[in-house]
Symmetry: D2
Subunit: 344 residues, 4 copies
């Protein structure tokens, strides 16, 4: 049994990690921390865990050494104490944005302040197995992934790997997201009467996750446009790109089939019948699948690629567990078998 602990267990990412680790056959959770909920049962904050665990939140300063340490802190916290955390565990998986980017200058440009532990940046592998599976198998430190970046990266991956996009043309990524993406802390805009039924574009350009898409897809002209919709869990990325001139529908089928065959959590959804013909986030709640779809207008060379995920699973905790499985030599899908629900 791998011994794990979670620093920062009262948020949505931490709660999802906890749910997954408690049900994982190869791991044991020894401690979960929260300053604000110190001493409370974790099920008082994560009510789905009632009768599943009697763990209580403990003090982050009293964490004992473990095999793998998960950090699920607000952005900017992990880098402050990364040295200390490294003393607690030989392997760390950090869900925050602190160690996703490879370049100190890029970090400052997108996050608006200098990185506090730049020497640690190269030690982390970007934790998306679909892009870095082999590195992750041998990694000591794994960064989490941005949920929107993940939806965008997985939508782009088949096109980029097969070199189907004209990179001189801009790539526009429209992303629709649920409210859990904002985290467990409320704000004026997340008050139910204001947030309900919204179709609210909260970022036209400049969303921080853009940096992860540029880095991982090696794209320079890419924009993420973010719109909140009525949904709790889920994100859908729609890529609009210009195809290279010779691209055919056949090339697209080949590109998507390849990535789907190589990756256990990618599925291609491209049906001619039934209700579910395209990727949709709602049926992915709780699942680690990322569903991919595409369409192509040969007349205008307009490529559309779609990726649906559960932002808390494939976009955060699920992918982190997938990385843990790879790092530990377990089957990549262990503990991530939940298929999602229908209807929901």
């Amino acid at each position: 049994m791998i011994k794990t602990a979670i620093i920062g267990g009262s948020g949505y990412g931490g709660g999802e990690l906890l749910r997954l680790l408690l049900n994982h056959p190869g791991t044991e959770v020894t401690q979960v921390t929260s300053r604000s909920h110190l001493g409370e049962y974790v099920y008082q904050v994560h009510p789905n865990l009632r009768k599943r665990t009697m763990l209580k939140f403990c003090d982050p300063d009293q964490v004992e050494p473990v095999d793998i340490l998960f950090l699920a802190l607000p952005h900017g916290q992990a880098m402050k104490k990364i040295q200390k955390y490294a003393e607690l565990a030989p392997q760390i998986i950090d869900l925050s944005a602190d160690f996703r980017l490879k370049d100190e200058t890029t970090y400052q440009q997108w996050y608006g302040s200098p990185h506090l532990a730049p020497e640690w940046m190269p030690k982390f592998v970007y934790g998306l197995p679909e892009l870095h599976r082999e590195e992750i198998r041998h990694a000591q430190y794994i960064s989490g992934v941005g949920c929107n970046a993940t939806a965008a990266n997985l939508a782009l991956m088949p096109l980029v790997k097969a070199e189907l996009i004209d990179l001189d043309q801009p790539v526009y990524v429209e992303i629709k997201v649920g409210s859990s993406e904002g985290g467990a802390e409320g704000n004026a805009g997340s008050h139910h009467p204001e947030r309900s039924n919204t179709v609210r574009t909260f970022s036209c350009f400049g969303h921080r996750h853009t940096a992860e898409v540029m880095q991982e897809m090696h794209l320079s002209k890419v924009a993420l446009t973010m719109t909140s919709v009525e949904l709790v869990r889920g994100a859908l990325a729609t890529v609009h790109a210009a195809a290279k001139s010779a691209v055919t529908m056949k090339d697209l089928w080949a590109a998507y089939r390849t990535v789907v065959n190589e990756n256990p959590f990618l599925r291609l959804v491209h049906e001619q019948r039934g209700i579910y013909r395209v990727p949709e986030p709602k049926i992915l709640a709780g699942s680690n699948f990322a569903d991919l779809g595409f369409d192509f207008d040969p007349q205008n060379g307009h490529l559309i690629s779609i990726c649906a995920i559960d932002n808390l699973m494939k976009g955060a905790a699920g992918t982190a567990i997938q990385c843990m499985n790879l790092m530990s030599g377990m089957d990549e899908t262990t503990g991530l078998e939940f298929t999602g629900l229908h209807p929901i």
Copy 2:
């Protein structure tokens, strides 16, 4: 033109009053106050009013005299300064709970602290025209109504007026409410991911509006059970009561037809066909109608009475405007003609 002002215009009740007054042919709004939004355009807080008014929020200490003053403050505020407000206007309509109850002791029992202006309590008429129309016509001071109390009172009114209920048996009122009822200030439970999709019973007994039902319906054994559901505007009250022994379905039809005929904003919904056979709050959003329905199980003497309202309209601002119309000698329905939308 009646000159009006609103003290406390940034909340949901105040915003709804403002919307109604701006569209009312007989009134003019001279000032709207808000300390927290001082100097902002009202449309920055109430975005539906953009291009309809260039009013800005002003300081509550700088309100000029008007004909009718509306108070839309948090509970407990109006009674602190009622003397001062009375100097600003000959007529006052207060949306808060401060002057709804007639009895100082009852107030303390339900609100947990002594009333600060008990000498003003008898000066106020309980502002539900369906119960106190004639008094309201000649009133100087009107209290608002509790939204849940209104749904319960209007569901009970036909049964109570026609004396169909066995008052020795308890009356259970199950109320399902939308999130706007909690007001414009958020809390942990109103954060969208937590509040969405809920069916959350937040009060089994002891809800403060119970006092208004006891007072207005002259009932002693009545309980309000409050459950939040996924909805922004709307409340549905379902009354369960025991019928007196001789009651028939015919008596019920007569009782409901009477109240519906006597009151322009009451409608009876009791259809045998179509989708909308019973009262439903969703089609009442923005409307001042209260829809009533009933059913009866003669075998067990079980009476069910249902009332659906928009909590911000018939349950608050709409009824306040209805009172204003009566107090001013205008047609009771002026400015309240909006029928609600379908579908929605």
Copy 3:
């Protein structure tokens, strides 16, 4: 490995059974039938099962013998061919209403037509382990449970077992349900613009599940009032009953603790802090838990008991799998470990 097949696999109950059986460590699904989707992959109808199974729907007339046969047909179908189904398997679990009631006359009274296989009625055990665990362990034929009946029965069970209710007084059960309860076939009222945001009371008295509550709880004066709310999965039953005169809060705590300790899928939710203080169906989506809560007004002797379930799980397929586990000598919770999600 227990060999199972599902007759009628395209509906919501059948789909949920399939999801559970495919993930169950002790079972194998050999066939799933559907006339209307004959030859289609099951994942085309149940999109969550994509990449999990390559099963196709087969002809119901070509089902091969299995160890346990699940029937997930529309009401009234199972009893027509029960003899034929019994030839296919030594054990049958029927999700429909056909074999829930013990009495032919009662069946006709509530379902409006004569039972077509009355001689089979006594052969079936009512499939709610919380009420009939030992019988189920040795049963050959198990009836499914009504979802609303289950929410009501589990809310009533602690009170009835501990004999806390005054049975001379009526028991009112208010039930709020999601749209999946209506099944996979649409109708005018389930069209999204009409069904969205509803709080729609579709049955004041006389809901068929009432018969299951009367039978299982041995109650005569009980009414179920059914209201649709905005939710896909989930049901919440709120019982209003009169306490016997000597009942105390301590008796209630004891009664609920007893049933919760004796039953792995019952949980007591009665918190003084946090957001989730009472049972709520939303966090149960996909889970087999039934969450119980209660409150008591000693002054009026008013008892409230609340039960939240996922109607497709504890209210249908989950309980059926729980029965299968008991019948097969497996641990009662096998394959039912999913805890539900938070947030959702």
Copy 4:
């Protein structure tokens, strides 16, 4: 009083027309037709109109002459009998798609079958006042507008009029829509459990409304990508376009201010504070406003323009009434004063 009648009054467009005409000070509705609901009260289908009108649905073959005839039939019906309808009224406003396009060949290309009354096509003016106000004032026949086309056209209008877009580059329009857009007839995908919580892209390219955008904006390289979201009323169009090289933020402000000043139902939403900083459809339910917003990334020349509408109002019935007002010499905004609700 202008006498009006509605052919096809049981759908959502017809119901919305009826609501508006009944509240319009200058019109009278003499007849509303429906074959399927013949003889029923209109409030049985449109429950918001209860106690507002006692009109019943009549036979479409028994419509008497009126001043203005509204056609709210399914697509393809109006053109079959346009000659007959023209004998009933000197002025016709047709909400369907039959007379929106100017070119017979284009019609066949997008609608897949030949136009049945091509000689009538040039007689109709495209009924969007923001584009054709003066023609509409003097028109005899007005075509309705496509709701998605309207959101796209109004988002594009400021950019196109001010000639800010590089027309050699493709224009991508992402449109998110509510379920009422599909009309009052249900289908498998509109069943509430399947349609709820969706983010479902139902058309990547080739949506019929594209033809209206090409025609009205004189664009050739434009694609509409349609995604259903959880919402009943509302559409949000997001235009992605490439700016001409010299374009500045100042040019954009000027372009939007111009169209907003010239059109009573256009509003610019571009705030730095508060919750509602950008256009959102939810606050427009029932309102005829179209809210516009924009953003610009000068580094990449990426223009974003956003338009939110209520698809049944500005996208259908509201715009039709606006046209009626212009045709009749009334103030353009008469009967369309409802501001929408907040919160909702």
